[in-house]
Symmetry: C2
Subunit: 428 residues, 2 copies
C-alpha cells in the first residue's frame, strides 16, 4: 500500500527518510470513498446530511458581527482567547478540576494536536507506548519524528511493560470507543493505567474525539478525570488530553484542543508557532458561538439516535452475511465496528482488492498496526451512510469475500503461488 515517493524530477534531491515508509491510505480512501458508485465503509466521517448548516451559517454571521476584524487577524498562537476560556471551563466542569486558559491550546483539529505532540516530545528512536491497533492518523503524524513503538497492553501484565513505560516518551490511548476497534476501556483499566504512568513518570496522551457519540449511555470518566479526582490543585498532571468538534459538530471548521499542564502547553505553542503561526480565528470564533449555546449537546440528540440505527443496521446485516468469516463486538459508541477474521486464511489487504471490484470500501487492519503484521481484521464505519446504503455495502462485502475465498481455494488447489498474492497468504 505504499506509493512511489520520489518527487525528484530529473536528479533533484530525494525526499526525507520517513516518506519512504509512509503511505497515502487516508488520501486513497477519501478519494475512492468520494465516488458516487462506491459504498464507503472506510472513512471516519460523520453523516454529511446531518451537518447543522443553518446553525453554522448563523453562528458565522454572529461571529463576524461580534468580533469584526479580530477574527481576520493572525491569532494568538494559543488560539482565540474566549474559546480557550470556554474549553477550560468545560473541562473543569467535566472533571471537577481547576483548569485555566493556560491549560489549553487550540489546534486545527486533533490531528494537528498529534503532530505537535510528536514535534515536542519525539526525537528519532524515542519510544511511544501505543494501544494496538493504533489510530492511523497518529502513526502518520509521528512518522516524520521516527519513533519506535511498544504495545500498550491494557491488562498491564505483559512482561517488560513497566520497563517500556519508564523508557517511553508517552503512552497513546483512545479510551472512548477507540479508533479502530470501537472499544470502550473500563474505568478500572483507566485507573490502573494512570497508576502505572504516574509510577513510571511519563506522559499519557488521551485522544478523545468520539466522546459525544454515546450510543449506549455515557462512557464515564476520562483518564484526565481520574487524575483530577486524586489531585485537587491546579492541573499539573501527566495527561495530555485531545478534544475536537470534528465528530460532535463538523470536521470542516478544523477546531480541536489540547488540554495539558501549562509547561507542556508552552512547548506545544512553540511547536505550533513553527507549524502554521496560528489557526483561523474565524473558525474558532464560529465554534465559540456554537459551544457557548451548548449546540453540540443539542446536536448530539439529533445524530446519536441515527448513528445507533446505523450501527444496528450494520451489525444486523453483517450477522446475517459475514458471520461465517468474521467476528466482532457491537460497539457502545463511536463510529466503527472492528471485524476480525475467524481464521488467518482471510488477509484483509488482499480482500480489499476484491472489495474495490465490488465497489465497497473498508480499512484493512495492517494500516493500524505499527508492525504492519496484522492483516486479519478490518475497520467498518457506520456513521457516514444511511442504513440502506450500509446494508448494500455489507452485501457487496459478502460478495467480495466469497470471490476472494473462492479464488484462494482455486489457487491452493492449483498449488501455484502467484505474484499477486503475498507469500504469507499463499502458504497453506
Amino acid at each position: 500500500m505504499t506509493i512511489s515517493k520520489s518527487p525528484a524530477a530529473g536528479n533533484r534531491p530525494g525526499c526525507a527518510q520517513w516518506l519512504k515508509t509512509s503511505n497515502s491510505i487516508s488520501q486513497q480512501f477519501l478519494a475512492f470513498g468520494g465516488r458516487p458508485d462506491v459504498v464507503s465503509l472506510a472513512g471516519g466521517l460523520p453523516a454529511a446530511e446531518l451537518y447543522p448548516l443553518a446553525a453554522i451559517q448563523s453562528a458565522t454571521q454572529r461571529a463576524l458581527e461580534r468580533h469584526g476584524p479580530a477574527v481576520l487577524e493572525y491569532g494568538a498562537i494559543e488560539g482565540f482567547p474566549a474559546l480557550r476560556r470556554l474549553i477550560a471551563a468545560r473541562i473543569s466542569a467535566e472533571t471537577g478540576g481547576h483548569f485555566t486558559p493556560e491549560n489549553v491550546l487550540l489546534t486545527s483539529g486533533s490531528m494537528q494536536g498529534l503532530d505537535l505532540i510528536g514535534k515536542v516530545l519525539v526525537d528519532p528512536g524515542d519510544l511511544i507506548v501505543a494501544q494496538s491497533p493504533t489510530y492511523l492518523g497518529a502513526l502518520d503524524a509521528w512518522r516524520p519524528r521516527a519513533p519506535l513503538y511498544s504495545k500498550l497492553d491494557w491488562d498491564l501484565r505483559e512482561p517488560g511493560f513497566e520497563d517500556a513505560l519508564a523508557r517511553a516518551k508517552f503512552v497513546y490511548s483512545v479510551p472512548n470507543y477507540s479508533n479502530p476497534t470501537g472499544v470502550l476501556v473500563s474505568q478500572e483499566r483507566r485507573a490502573a493505567l494512570l497508576d502505572k504512568v504516574l509510577t513510571a513518570g511519563t506522559w499519557l496522551v488521551e485522544d478523545d474525539p468520539y466522546r459525544t457519540i454515546q450510543l449506549d449511555g455515557p462512557p464515564g470518566h476520562s483518564i484526565l478525570g481520574h487524575y483530577v479526582a486524586r489531585h485537587s490543585r491546579a492541573y499539573d498532571g501527566p495527561v495530555i488530553y485531545l478534544g475536537t468538534v470534528s465528530k460532535s459538530l463538523v470536521p470542516g471548521l478544523r477546531v480541536g484542543w489540547i488540554v495539558a499542564e501549562p509547561g507542556m502547553i508552552q512547548a506545544l505553542t512553540l511547536a505550533k508557532q513553527a507549524t502554521d503561526l496560528s489557526s483561523s480565528m474565524l473558525t474558532q470564533a464560529i465554534t465559540l458561538e456554537l459551544l457557548e449555546q451548548d449546540f453540540d449537546s443539542e446536536h448530539a440528540k439529533t445524530i446519536v439516535p441515527l448513528y445507533r440505527e446505523r450501527r444496528d443496521a450494520l451489525c444486523d446485516e453483517a450477522a446475517l452475511r459475514l458471520g461465517e468469516w468474521f467476528e466482532w463486538e457491537v460497539p457502545v459508541g463511536g463510529m466503527f465496528v472492528w471485524m476480525r477474521a475467524r481464521n488467518q486464511a482471510i488477509d484483509t489487504d488482499e480482500l480489499y482488492r476484491f472489495a474495490v471490484e465490488e465497489k465497497v470500501a473498508f480499512v484493512p487492519s495492517s494500516v493500524f498496526d505499527f508492525t504492519g503484521q496484522d492483516r486479519f481484521a478490518m475497520r467498518v464505519n457506520f456513521t457516514r451512510s444511511s442504513p440502506e446504503v450500509i446494508t448494500e455495502g455489507v452485501r457487496r462485502l459478502e460478495r467480495a469475500i466469497a470471490t476472494y475465498v473462492s479464488s484462494r481455494a482455486q489457487l491452493q488447489g492449483s498449488n501455484r503461488p502467484r505474484d499477486s498474492l503475498s507469500p504469507a497468504a499463499a502458504a497453506p
Copy 2:
C-alpha cells in the same frame, strides 16, 4: 532570547532536541505588540482597520449557500478543488505556463507550506542554502528537521557556492520585497540563480507573500516565471513557489498555496495528511469567492497607497531622528525597512530592552540569522500602524537609542563590564 523549554513537571520525559534551540520571538512580539500602550513596529501584520470585513461577510454567506455541507467536511487533503483550479489558472496567466490543479496544494498559510517542505525534503544534517538574513518563520519551520545552513550569496560568486548548491536539498529565497530586508532582487540575479540551481540539480523554494504590496511599480517575473519562459511544456521545474492571501486580503483565513511539479505536490500532500488531514474547506471556499472576483486586485488599490504613505512616514521620520546611528534603503514594496547600525557599537538585541522600556517594538536582526551572529540591524514594519503612530514609534526609538548609547558610554567610562551587557558589546 531563548525561553525555558522543559515542560517536564516532576521528572517526566523532556522535550525533543530542537526545542532547546527554539525561541518564542514571534509569540512574544504578538503578545507585546498587542498591548495598547505599545507602538509595535515589530510584526509583519497588515493594517487591521483596512481588512475588508463587509466583503468577507458577504463572501462567507455566498460560500455557505453555494457549497453547503461540502465546506463543512474534511476536504480533499490537496484543498478545495475549485480554488486549486483557480490558483492553477492564475499562475498560468501570470507566468504564461501550463499549470493544472495537480501543480497546486492549498495550505494553512504559507507558513504551513514551509513546514511541509521541511518535512518532505529535510533529514537531520541536510543542507539548506538560504538567503541571509532569513525569514524567521522559515527558520522556525525547519528547526524540528535539524538542517544545516549555507548562505545564499546573490552575487553567486562566493567560493564554494556551487558546491553548496550541489549538496543542498534546496535554496530558499524571498525575491520580492524580502523579509526581513525589503530587498527586491533584480531580474538578472533571479535568472542567474535559476541557472545555478538547474546546473546543480537542486530545488528552489520561492516564497512570495509580498507580491501584491507594490509600492513603486511591479516587481517583474518570479523565478518560477523565468523557468516557465524557458520551458513551455507542462510544469516539471525545480521551483517550489509559495503564495498566500495573508498580505493581500487577510491573514485570518489561513489560506496559502504551494505550486510545484506534480511529484513534489504528491509528497507534500502526504506530509499534509500527516499534519492536519486537511485545512478548512470553509475558509478556502470564502477565499475562492473573493479571488474569483479579483477582489485582491481591487483591495490592493485601497491598501497600497496607504502603505506607501506609511513607508514614507517611517523613512522620513527615521531620516530626521535615527540617521546618526542607522542606515537603510527605502524599500520599493513589502512591509519592512531594514535598518543597519552604522557601526557595531549598537547591538540590537540590547537595544531591544531599551525599546521595551520606551514602549516601542522592532525585531532585532539576530533572530533572522541562522548563525545568530548578526546583532547589528533591526526590522521595522510600516504597514500595521497609521503614519502618526509610526512617527511616534520612531520618536520612542530615538529615545531608546539615546538612552542605550549613553548607558554604554557610561559603562565604558567606568570600564567595568556588567552582567546585563554581553562581552561583545562591552568591548571597546
